[in-house]
């Protein structure tokens, strides 16, 4: 599997993401925000965490307008896989690839801890390595992770089984405890918690490994 990790000025989880993908068996290249196209043959684009463009205007708003994001949107529209974590999730909502928006945490505090998450669906390349109902521990580290969406969007997310992860103990005020959501074709996942920070025993847990293995596994079977 070929993966590309997008790097914006202010990204800080890009290398962790690359390490996690490589450990799962992916070939990884890094792409810069000014690049207007993705490397040939890329199967997965990962949009990493950080503070792209200093979170100016709104988290992810400037990054979503960068040349590489136009290529990422094209990739997703062609049915390619996209994983957005933390700031990457914010970027994906700003591009419109995922519905809803991420607002300031309800308690206004930056939250940095390991969160227990419930896997809500195993019906996606990202979550097929888990069983629905499993509890996994991924670190969260964000100030703007308070997911919101209008009632119609929420009903669609629930009805179409597109909520991938929920918080056991909602840290940020997200509606319906939502921690991660899937696109309509289930190939784009955005989530605030960091699976790439839970892939090595040295991280304190390896619950994130199954996510990356599941993704990379999509391309091994062929």
């Amino acid at each position: 599997m070929r993966a590309a990790v997008v790097v914006f000025p202010g990204s800080n989880c890009d290398r962790d993401m690359a390490v996690a993908l490589k450990a799962a068996g992916a070939e990884v290249s890094m792409v810069w925000h000014k690049d207007a196209s993705l490397p040939d043959g890329v199967d997965l684009v990962a949009v990493p965490g950080g503070f792209s463009f200093g979170d100016y205007l709104r988290c992810g708003a400037i990054a979503a307008q960068s040349p590489i994001c136009k290529a990422v949107v094209g990739h997703a529209e062609r049915g390619g896989y996209v994983l957005g974590v933390c700031n990457g999730f914010q970027v994906l909502t700003e591009t419109g690839l995922l519905p809803g928006a991420l607002m300031r945490n309800a308690n206004l505090k930056f939250i940095c801890k390991t969160a227990d998450l419930k896997v809500e669906t195993s019906n996606s390349a990202f979550t097929e390595g888990y069983n629905a109902g499993d509890t996994v521990g991924y670190p969260v580290a964000h100030h703007d992770g308070n997911y919101t969406a209008d009632d119609a969007t929420l009903a669609a997310l629930k009805g179409e089984d597109r909520i991938a992860f929920t918080y056991g103990d909602n840290p940020n005020g997200s509606v319906a405890d939502i921690a991660g959501v899937l696109s309509e074709n289930r190939r784009v996942l955005g989530m605030m918690p960091h699976p790439e920070r839970a892939v090595d025993a040295g991280h304190g847990g390896t619950d994130g490994q199954a996510l990356f293995r599941g993704l990379v596994g999509q391309f091994v079977q062929a």
Binding site: R58, T93, A101, M103, A106, N107, L108, N146, T148, G173
Partner: protein, 76 residues
Amino acid sequence: MKARVHVMLKNGVLDPQGEAVRHALGSLGFDGVEGVRQGKVIELDLADGTSEATIGEMCEKLLANTVIESYRVEVL
């Protein structure tokens, strides 16, 4: 020409920052502050003749996230 864009969270979207400001005003002894909503003001220096439609497009595409925010344009 100049234009001023006011961006506010839509009605019905909880504004935790506004709430915090409301509490702080209460603790300063200002009674009766029933609600605070916090937004942004963006001032644009534009080429003369820029149409309101163009400014609206700027708002839709970048300045506001219309999922959660509304905007109002004031041409100065």
